[in-house]
C-alpha cells in the first residue's frame, strides 16, 4: 500500500505546456495523494516535463489508446496498488485540483461511489461552446429518461471514484468519450453517483479534441454506446 490513500490520475496527450503546472497544483492541493500521469504516447515532451515536476509516477503507453484506455490504465494501477480513492484530473489544465476537496467532501457526506465535478451546478465557470452545451442537454434528458437521474455535466472527466467504482471500471471502461457511458455502467451495477458544482478553467494551450465537425460524430457514437451499455446486463 502506498503512502497516500488517494491516487490522482492525470491522462495526458501532447500536453507539454500544461502538464507541469497541473501536477504541481495537484500536489499542492492534495499533499497526501500520489500523482500518476498516463502519457498516452505523446509525440512531444509530455513525459519528460511530467517527470521534471518531481515525486510523480509516469506511465508511458506504447501506443495511443485514447482517453478511455489511458484512464483505465489509472484504474488498473489504483486497483493493483490498493488505493481507496482515485480522482481524474485532465492534463490540459481545465480541471482545478484545488476543487478536489469539494469532491472528497461530497463523497464523505453522501456516501456515493462516484462524484462528478459539474461546471453547471452552483458555480460560475467559463462558458463552453454552444455545441457542447447542446450535447450536454441531450445527455441530460437521455439520462433522466434511462436512469432517472439528473446529470448536469455528464461529459465532465473531473471525477472522484471510490474503491468499488475503481474495481468495476478497471475491468471495463469504454474506449472513446467514456464519461457519459461510465455513468450508465455504474448505475447498472447499482453504484451511487452524485454531482457537485466546481469551477473549471478554459484551456490555456492547445485545442479541444472535439471540433464542431466532429461533434455530430461524437454525439452519435456516445449515444450508441450509451444505448448498448443500457441494454447490456453483464460483461
Amino acid at each position: 500500500m502506498r503512502k497516500g490513500r488517494i491516487l490522482i490520475v492525470i491522462p495526458a496527450f501532447n500536453e507539454q505546456q500544461n502538464i507541469m503546472q497541473v501536477i504541481r497544483d495537484a500536489q499542492d492541493s492534495i499533499p497526501n495523494g500520489d500523482v500518476l500521469v498516463i502519457n498516452d504516447c505523446s509525440v512531444d515532451n509530455t513525459s519528460l516535463r511530467a517527470r521534471q515536476a518531481g515525486d510523480v509516477r509516469v506511465v508511458d503507453l506504447p501506443c495511443n489508446l485514447g482517453i478511455g484506455g489511458a484512464v483505465q490504465t489509472g484504474f488498473k494501477y489504483a486497483r493493483e496498488q490498493g488505493y481507496h480513492c482515485m480522482v481524474q484530473v485532465d492534463g490540459d489544465g481545465q480541471h482545478i485540483p484545488a476543487e478536489i476537496d469539494k469532491l472528497m467532501q461530497t463523497m464523505e457526506q453522501s456516501d456515493c461511489d462516484m462524484v462528478i465535478g459539474s461546471r453547471f451546478l452552483d458555480v460560475d465557470s467559463f462558458r463552453t461552446s454552444w455545441a457542447r452545451r447542446m450535447g450536454i442537454k441531450v445527455f441530460y434528458y437521455l439520462f433522466r429518461m434511462l436512469i432517472g437521474m439528473r446529470v448536469t455535466d455528464s461529459t465532465s472527466g473531473f471525477r472522484l471514484y471510490n474503491r468499488r467504482s475503481i474495481e468495476l471500471l478497471a475491468r471495463y471502461y469504454p474506449d472513446d468519450y467514456p464519461e457519459p457511458d461510465a455513468i450508465i455502467m455504474l448505475k447498472k451495477h447499482g453504484l451511487r453517483i452524485c454531482e457537485v458544482g466546481v469551477a473549471m478553467r478554459a484551456r490555456e494551450h492547445g485545442a479541444s479534441s472535439i471540433t464542431p465537425i466532429k461533434s455530430p460524430y461524437y454525439m452519435a457514437k456516445v449515444m450508441l454506446s450509451i444505448f448498448f451499455s443500457y441494454t447490456r446486463t453483464r460483461w
Binding site: I38, R57, V58, D60, L61, L65, Q72, T73
Partner: protein
C-alpha cells in the same frame, strides 16, 4: 435460349476456377501459417460453397428459383456478395477482439515499465 445457357456455362466455369483458386490459396496459406486455421475454415466454407454451386447447375437454378431470381447468374452474384458480407462481419469481430487485447497489453506494458523503473531506482539506491 442458347445465349443465356452459354452465359450460365461461362459463369459456372468462372465460378469453378475462382473457387478452386480460393481453396488452393487458402490451403497454401494455412499450411505456411500465414493464415490461422480458424479463418481458413471460413474461407474453405465459402470456397466450397461456390464450387458446389458452380458444379451443380441444377442446384444453382433451384436456388435462383427459390429466391425469385429469374437470371441464375444474378443469384450466384448475390450469394457471392452475401458471402463477402459474412466474411467482413467475421473480420470486424476479429478486429474488435484484437483491439481490446491490444489495449490490455499496452496498458499492462505501460504499468510494467513503471514497476521496472521503480525497481531499478530502488536497486540503484541500495547499491549506493
Amino acid at each position: 435460349m442458347i445465349a443465356s445457357a452459354s452465359s450460365i456455362d461461362r459463369i459456372h466455369l468462372i465460378g469453378v476456377v475462382f473457387s478452386v483458386l480460393i481453396l488452393l490459396t487458402v490451403f497454401l496459406m494455412v499450411r505456411a501459417r500465414v493464415m490461422k486455421e480458424k479463418y481458413g475454415l471460413v474461407w474453405f466454407f465459402i470456397g466450397g460453397f461456390i464450387l458446389v454451386m458452380s458444379l451443380e447447375r441444377e442446384l444453382m437454378d433451384t436456388f435462383a428459383g427459390l429466391i425469385g431470381v429469374e437470371y441464375a447468374p444474378s443469384a450466384f452474384f448475390a450469394m457471392l456478395i452475401a458471402c463477402a458480407y459474412l466474411l467482413l462481419l467475421n473480420m470486424s469481430v476479429s478486429i474488435s477482439h484484437l483491439k481490446s487485447q491490444n489495449k490490455a497489453l499496452a496498458q499492462e506494458l505501460g504499468l510494467t515499465r513503471l514497476r521496472v523503473e521503480e525497481l531499478e531506482q530502488r536497486i540503484s539506491r541500495l547499491e549506493r
